[in-house]
Symmetry: C2
Subunit: 476 residues, 2 copies
């Protein structure tokens, strides 16, 4: 069986069009700090009328193959995780086949995986399992997470975002799975869903969704701890992992989540929890998962979790958070919720911020998709060998450059784009502006949807340095 299977290489694409959360706060008439401190978000990327989940993933896959010099014939599996539905039957994966058909490679397994923000994790697990299975043919797997998160006008709108992350999967990876160290929690819930088929916007019960997230986190952590203890014969606690990476709908929830894990260690009487912490957490011991789940008193659970977060995360968890979580929060805070891509954009942030310190480190990730599906799982990092090394991943992703070369839209223009996109969603028989001036060289963009709903894309030439947009040529 193939060993140390995991992520060999990765890249991230997000639209260069964005809006500052501070400006959006003012525009929306929200209280100062509501989005920036209350949600913990800084900036939000969005697709303009020439971009969508298909164009973003065409760009990301093409970039990865080129930058890591991967022969398209060497891809044996390609899977997509997404919850942004453009077609209810035809997968995004089939659009991406255009890249490989040119090279005569159509023998590529895999389709799209769907459940809210979790689809990318499902695709990644599937791809890793494939490499470890008897059906593996020795080629690479490719996993794409691509989403555009948009919300109706109102309190959820600032929690949007858009991106595509692509990951190359194979053996002897610098980002390797510890496959036995994994706990899932899957359940039937209506916290966030998309039953209004004609609308791009979800139906969201924000409070319920936060509670579901935290409950799933508890259950997954307990499950992972119990598996670790069975395997290793000793207790698992926060001290057993170097970094924790969370699915990030907005940063405040990530802060709460980490405080919640600390609370779990306290409840499990973990030896790593010191006396001062025990004293401070004592009053919250009624917040024990089992009780609150059984009573189904979600509101009480949510309120207590909020209180605990305010008191605990600022005092007790803060130093640990800064060390173990903060390095993974850069892109999610700057780009927003990228749904399936969100967790892997956080992993990319960790590599961006800590690349030289990651060799030998354990990273625990928490993936959550409303509805609901959740898994906590563990990765073991090593520097790896070029081109599949953490330092090369860092250099290819060029996160700082991509963030720097973005174009900030005033909130008014952002709202205009959202209005246009509402009309365009599910529509046919239109051409776009075909304006690629804001896009980096090599970026795909939507040109037309014909009367049969067929979608056409063009690619901005990759080799031309656009003089008028010099920063883009550097940035991307």
């Amino acid at each position: 069986m193939a060993k140390n299977v995991g992520i060999l290489a990765m890249d991230i694409y997000f639209p260069p069009t964005c809006v500052q959360q501070e400006a959006l706060e003012a525009h929306d008439g929200a209280s100062k700090g509501k989005y920036t401190i209350g949600l913990g978000q800084e900036c939000m990327a969005f697709c303009s009328e020439v971009e969508d989940v298909i164009s973003m993933s065409l760009t990301a896959v093409t970039n990865l193959l080129e930058k890591y010099k991967i022969d398209p014939k060497q891809i044996g599996r390609l899977e997509v995780g997404s919850e942004t539905v453009i077609d209810k039957s035809k997968s995004i994966k089939t659009f991406l086949m255009q890249i490989f058909e040119k090279f005569g490679n159509t023998d590529i397994e895999g389709v799209d995986s769907t459940n809210a923000c979790y689809g990318g994790t499902a695709a990644l697990f599937n791809c890793v399992n494939w490499v470890e299975s008897s059906s593996w043919d020795g080629r690479y797997g490719l996993v794409v997470c691509t989403d555009s998160a948009v919300y109706a006008e109102g309190p959820a709108r600032p929690t949007g975002g858009a991106a595509a992350v692509v990951m190359l999967v194979g053996p002897d990876a610098p980002v390797a799975f510890e496959s036995k160290l994994r706990g899932s929690h899957m359940s039937h819930a209506y916290d966030f869903y998309k039953p209004n088929l004609a609308s791009e916007y979800p139906v969201v019960d924000g409070k319920l969704s936060q509670t579901c997230y935290l409950m799933a986190l508890d259950t997954c952590y307990k499950c992972l701890c119990s598996k670790y203890e069975k395997l290793e014969g000793k207790q698992f606690s926060l001290s057993n992992a170097d970094y924790f990476v969370f699915h990030s709908p907005y940063n405040k929830l990530v802060q709460k989540s980490f405080a919640r894990l600390l609370f779990n260690d306290f409840m499990r009487n973990a030896s790593s929890v010191d006396e001062a912490t025990k004293e401070k957490l004592g009053p919250f011991s009624t917040l024990s998962g089992d009780e609150s789940y059984q009573s189904r008193d979600l509101e009480k659970f949510g309120a207590l979790a909020d209180t605990m977060h305010r008191q605990v995360s600022q005092q007790l968890a803060k130093p640990l958070y800064d060390a173990k979580v903060q390095p993974s929060t850069l892109i999610p805070k700057q780009v927003g919720n990228m749904y399936t891509a969100s967790l892997y954009a956080a992993l990319a942030s960790l590599i961006h911020n800590k690349h030289s310190e990651l060799d030998g480190k354990r990273v625990v990730l928490f993936s959550y998709g409303s509805g609901l599906t959740a898994t906590m799982f563990s990765l073991k990092l090593s520097e790896g060998r070029h081109p599949f090394s953490l330092s090369n991943i860092l250099s290819v992703m060029n996160v700082a450059g991509k963030l720097k070369s973005r174009h900030e839209f005033p909130p008014e223009n952002f709202v205009e784009v959202m209005k246009l996109m509402e009309h365009r969603y599910g529509a046919k028989d239109f051409v776009t502006s075909k304006d690629s001036s804001l896009l980096a060289p090599g970026t795909y963009y939507l040109t037309e949807v014909d009367s049969m709903y067929r979608r056409f894309y063009a690619k901005k030439p990759a080799d031309v340095t656009n003089c008028e947009n010099g920063s883009l040529a550097n940035g991307h």
Copy 2:
């Protein structure tokens, strides 16, 4: 690594409501034989207003667990393949979690896989790979294929159908995968797709879809043959498999497909093709795949394939078809196109018809999903051990009983149901008739969709023998 991983157990559910194709022909004013001979279909099942893909899969999963006496805690993975979208974000898998949550089992990986009729195959492959991977925890996998195929009034309407197939996956299976014997063809095409998000009906280019299907079949077969030859050092031809099972949008395409495979053997100069066949097929050698693909002359390709089918399948392929294909066509002809469930309903038909003769036999399956994704793969059958034996699968599925106890609707009433379902698709805030009188005991049915689009289901008591519907109590 786990050995002989595959299907341990299976069950099928289809609605008891159906319409005869002969009656539909007359009602639609179609020429006599258009549906029954032209399409090769006999009867078509459809969901009435109390059934949908969620209720059908709740029923199928519950039945399988009960009939094979599987402890719900012993399920470690659950995956769904479907192209019938009720919610664009929340997976059907999360609805099925209700069955397992009752038993305290929420640690169940897997979500929904999507690409037209291929999603079930993707889910099955994922599940098999999981059992062979290092992340397998020793429990069973469960794969559900569930779809309701409905078409707008017009020529495609008689190609509908509805069903859910459920398969238990694990090692030492009576239906085991030969994982190295597999060829895929995936490509970007607009043959059948669902871009009109508010409508349940697809956009279909029937002619193109047939051509895409046959081209994908050619490519997959070539790929599988070439892999076999590399592995075994000898040629693969139709004579190397005992049965061929095809995804069946309608039976005529299955007939054409088998003729096409024979033609492939002829073009590859397979030793199994006799002189008489070579002579008859000579005139069609311009139908060579490579040429027709390059010229992109799809219409010509389709026309020639039609001609060849008429001349060849009736004469040359017919005896072989009767022996190697016909036994798998029962349910698809009686129930219609079940999309993701179609291929596995065909496999169920084969087990139903040939159970006692299958020990040691090789079955080659062809899975096709428009858009397009296709794989040809091989299974090795053995009798197995109770409860995971072919004879027990036969007895649990009770195909004959289920077919016999159906309720034929006059075409007028079928059309009425379709009209009601058009209004109900994507709708909220309604209650159904809650009429379960036509359903078998133990069947789930839809009772309500509330103002927040939340769906509610009830289960018809399983232990009560319904005196007024005695046939149902036997049949299901």
